[in-house]
Point group: C2
Chain length 225, copies 2
DNA sequence: TTTAAAAATTAGGTATACCTAAAATAGGAG
DNA sequence: CTCCTATTTTAGGTATACCTAATTTTTAAA
């Protein structure tokens, strides 16, 4: 295993490669690597049994590839918790450094870090932290933008992009905060939120990357409760 | 910078490359790399201004190479302190994992880890931890084997080799313990120690790799005090 | 001062992982 | 069903960092 292959595994995992085929282009875009290089690497990883590769169709993780991908994600998130809780990192800083630390986190280190952190269930950005055995359970969430005016929910997760994270942190947005939409300006205009009693305005784009407890049926768009 | 070059810098530093020329062979032996590869890499690092390389003579660190080497050592030792104090690592385990972590420890991370650990002065094996500005101050030590029967000193540092570390830890030897030599068996036989009141036998080889406060003048071999 | 061993360099080659450019394929629009 | 375009693959090439084998240089012994 090399950090490069690990990045491919993680990319595949994040793009849904544990459930369905993922196109080379998606991987190339995410990792910012030329499509030709992606083909080459995927071919090699296929021969190594990490992925199942169907030329011209796409690739998905094998059982062993999935295990590796999950343990990388686990290491990443545990480090984020450490960096934020104990070293005073910001949301975006923790993601940056965890991106490197994940590659040198053997199971022994992950296990001891996990214990030190008291077995956290979520990373600071709200993602579920896989257990040592690879177990992952995702709650049903929906983007904040899909909340209607007046509906109440709770902030559960945010996308991990530097600019977004810095923006959200400057607004004081936190995982777990109760939130309600007070107003939605038209034409992808800003949303006015009641954030745990505080009045906050956020961009539409940000509202697409903040996730709250699902209160709408994803098919019919009817309120679930 | 790559982890490989970083390993060369650290090797050069550990072999005294901040003070005098170091031969290619020493580096090759330490890093377990073929001498031909070492020549090649040193040539490149010389062109990059990291070392001063005199073909057929040896190499030494430049100012910038020394700074890098020191910050690697600093990262390494800070991680060791963390792994032992907070994650319950053993002496040998901490060295192993720190060997990898040191390569992904940007100054920001080192600074915050340093603060979290409350600015430790020594690594768990007794080495001085360089300060952020590169300052290093070494105390005068001598090998435990050079102590005469009856002389009292304190254990200050041990060499970092897996087998030695596991051996010493199993004997309950700790940095800072008062120690006196009760008997020295002839022909490189074992030493019997009074270790903080306890009676302990250690091999001659181990006594060469344990360092105590210097009480002999290194030139005349007379007792200093 | 010669000579032999040790150390270092050079030459030639491997594997990894990336690139660009060219050719092949697939899938949707008409 | 035929094109066209987006995607993918193949071909050829780069850089890094390692190797072994052959040659050169240094050093130290005779
Ligand atoms: Mn992250
Ligand atoms: Mn996270
Ligand atoms: Mn160490
Ligand atoms: Mn140490």
């Amino acid at each position: 295993m090399t950090p490069h292959k690990e990045d491919y595994l993680k990319a595949l995992y994040e793009l849904g490669g544990s459930e369905h085929l993922v196109s080379n282009k998606q991987i190339a875009d995410l990792l910012k690597i030329a499509p030709a290089s992606v083909s080459e690497m995927l071919g090699k990883m296929s021969r190594e049994g990490l992925i199942q590769y169907e030329p011209y169709k796409g690739s998905r993780l094998t059982q062993s590839g999935l295990q590796l991908a999950i343990s990388l994600v686990r290491g990443h998130q545990l480090w984020e918790v450490f960096l934020i809780r104990h070293l005073g990192y910001s949301w975006s800083e923790s993601h940056e450094d965890a991106e490197m630390l994940e590659h040198i986190t053997p199971p022994r280190l992950a296990a001891r870090l996990d214990r030190f952190l008291n077995y956290p269930a979520y990373c600071p950005h709200g993602n579920v932290i896989p257990k040592a055995d690879g177990q992952v359970e995702n709650a049903a969430l929906e983007p904040l933008k899909d909340l209607s005016v007046g509906e109440k929910s709770k902030i559960r997760r945010v996308d991990e992009e530097r600019e977004l994270l810095d923006y959200l942190e400057s607004l004081g947005i936190e995982i777990g905060s109760p939130v309600a939409v007070l107003a939605i300006a038209p034409y992808e205009g800003p949303l006015t939120l009641d954030l745990d009693g505080r009045n906050v305005q956020i961009s539409y784009k940000a509202a697409c990357q903040i996730y709250v407890d699902q209160i709408h049926d994803p098919d019919t768009n009817n309120t679930i409760f």
